[in-house]
């Protein structure tokens, strides 16, 4: 089996004193779609930022296509990022440009292609996400789902080897959600890329991904293929898959004794 595209080895990360990732090791094999799941605030997005080189790990190594991201200078990092695409939670489209110019942005910045060729490429990317007809609209005129599809077209403009998705399903209606899910899978296969999805939408992810990691309190607590996850007896995964309010992840934020707090006044 060939070397995975992304490999994290015992990665630790902290914002100041606050430990976010304690010891994470995982890998994304080439050609696969991998999901990272966990509750809100468990450090999922931080993982993407580490892989994209926006943050540097305190300990351990983050390897992308054999390169240690934490050790790259700005120029090498930018060279690497041209082969990565990241879809932000709400699309992060440039609001002062049309949909067309948004998708054309990476092409114009990084290539010397002729305007005619850029025009054709942009229309092809927009066609792939089903929004060729919206090319002249402005981001403000798009629905949430459409904005995310445009952002997806922009993300794949340079045919990246790695696609990263930060909560791609958040705040979408069921139809848009299904569309985005299918696009993630289809584009991954069409581009021959590898994808990493950070999400907490378990049902959608089980349908489209090849492998899932569960993260809690800065560690990988469970992992497996969708079939293994569905049939697991792991209490954490069970709570997550069945959306139970209480379990290994407690309902209550840590606090002192309830009765004492009520009688004694100060919590």
């Amino acid at each position: 089996m060939s070397e995975p595209l992304v490999r994290l080895e015992n990665v630790r990360f902290a914002y100041g004193e606050r430990m976010i990732l304690r010891d994470i090791s995982l890998s994304i094999p080439r050609g696969q779609v991998v999901a990272i799941m966990g509750g809100s605030g468990c450090g999922k997005t931080t993982l993407l930022r580490l892989i994209g080189g926006q943050e540097r790990a305190v300990g351990g190594r983050v390897l992308v296509d054999g390169q240690d991201v934490g050790g790259l200078d700005r120029e090498d990092l930018y060279t690497l990022r041209r082969r990565m695409g990241m879809l932000f939670q709400f699309g992060a489209l440039f609001t002062d440009m049309t949909v067309f110019d948004n998708v054309a942005f990476p092409l114009r910045e990084h290539t010397d292609l002729s305007p005619e060729l850029i025009n054709d490429l942009v229309l092809m990317k927009l066609h792939a996400v089903g929004l060729r007809g919206a090319a002249q609209l402005r981001p403000g005129e798009l629905s949430g789902g459409m904005a995310r599809r445009v952002a997806l077209a922009r993300t794949i403009a340079l045919d990246p080897m790695l696609l990263m998705y930060d909560e791609p399903f958040t705040g979408l209606d069921p139809i848009s959600l299904g569309v985005i899910g299918q696009l993630i899978r289809r584009l991954n296969n069409a581009l021959g890329a590898s994808s990493l999805i950070v999400t907490h939408d378990i049902q959608e992810s089980l349908q489209i991904v090849d492998y899932i990691y569960f993260i809690s309190e800065g560690r990988v607590v469970a992992e497996g293929t969708p079939d293994e996850i569905r049939n697991t007896s792991d209490p954490f995964v069970h709570q997550f898959v069945h959306a139970e309010a209480d379990g290994p992840v407690p309902f209550h934020y840590p606090a002192g004794d309830y009765a004492t707090a009520l009688v004694g006044g100060a919590g």
Binding site: R82, Q89, A92, F105, H110
Partner: protein, 260 residues
């Protein structure tokens, strides 16, 4: 008592830190300016937004400041029987002080605040991060063009402000009050020195341009990415720009105009 000193100390330290951040940011802007000049249309676009769109408020304010200077100037000068010196008085006050300073203050509140808001909102909506992830440097693509747009606009706007002000003074003095037209202009020409008065004024407005543009882009780029953070950043832009303009003006005036 100890608390007061501690507070003062921490204020001073954070102020010095902030100055350091701004200075480093300034160096970064200069470093990536070359890249941003390769795409000159970006800077020209910002010239339009900062410069051309500020024209109305600058021209109207300049006119009114000139009108008021004319009225007040005449009222005082005619007591000493030298109302012909009106032109000199209006021109010197505008070219040396009021033009650069008032235009600078207006520019900070009209264009500086807009730049801060725009960059701040781009930060809130993750556009800057997205750009950075696309291997496009936001300082070269977003910050530097806005900075240079402000730096170039400011002296031009100050010059237009002074021009409108002198026109306003002429309107009041010559057209409405009836001061002699020839005396108004010839006294002005005799008293105003190109290097000493005009160039010093232009230099001042250029310095204000750098200060306001730098504060505006820095506050936007540095803001806390929330609605509240952006609103605070805009306030800080206007307040710090105004204070910077007044402080720099005092320093420059004390070096430039010492009565020879």
């Amino acid at each position: 008592m100890g608390d007061v000193f501690r507070k003062l100390g921490s204020l001073a330290i954070s102020g010095v830190w902030q100055l350091g951040f701004i200075a480093r940011f300034f160096v970064l802007i200069l470093r990536y300016s070359g890249q941003s000049f390769m795409r000159l249309h970006l800077t020209i676009r910002e010239l339009y937004f900062s410069g051309v769109l500020s024209l109305l408020i600058i021209l109207v304010s300049g006119l009114f400041v000139g009108l008021v200077l004319g009225l007040q100037g005449y009222e005082i000068l005619q007591r000493y029987g030298s109302s012909e010196a009106m032109g000199t008085m209006v021109a010197l006050s505008l070219l040396r002080e009021l033009g650069p300073v008032v235009a600078g203050l207006l520019f900070a509140s009209r264009a500086g605040s807009a730049v801060t808001a725009e960059i701040g909102l781009m930060k809130v909506t993750e556009q800057l991060k997205a750009m950075d992830m696309m291997a496009v440097n936001p300082i070269a693509r977003v910050v530097a063009p806005r900075f240079w747009g402000g730096v170039v606009s400011m002296p031009l706007l100050a010059a237009l402000f002074s021009t409108m002000g002198i026109f306003g003074g002429w309107l009041i003095g010559v057209v409405f009050i009836g001061v002699d037209d020839g005396a108004f202009w010839s006294q002005m020409r005799a008293a105003v020195d190109f290097r000493y008065d005009v160039l010093n004024g232009v230099f001042k407005s250029a310095v204000f341009g750098v200060a306001v543009a730098l504060i505006a882009v820095f506050e936007g780029y540095d803001c806390v990415p929330t609605a509240e953070g952006v609103s605070r950043a805009i306030t800080r832009t206007v307040v710090s720009s105004a204070l910077a303009i007044l402080a720099l003006d005092f320093v420059m005036t004390s070096f430039m105009f010492r009565g020879l």
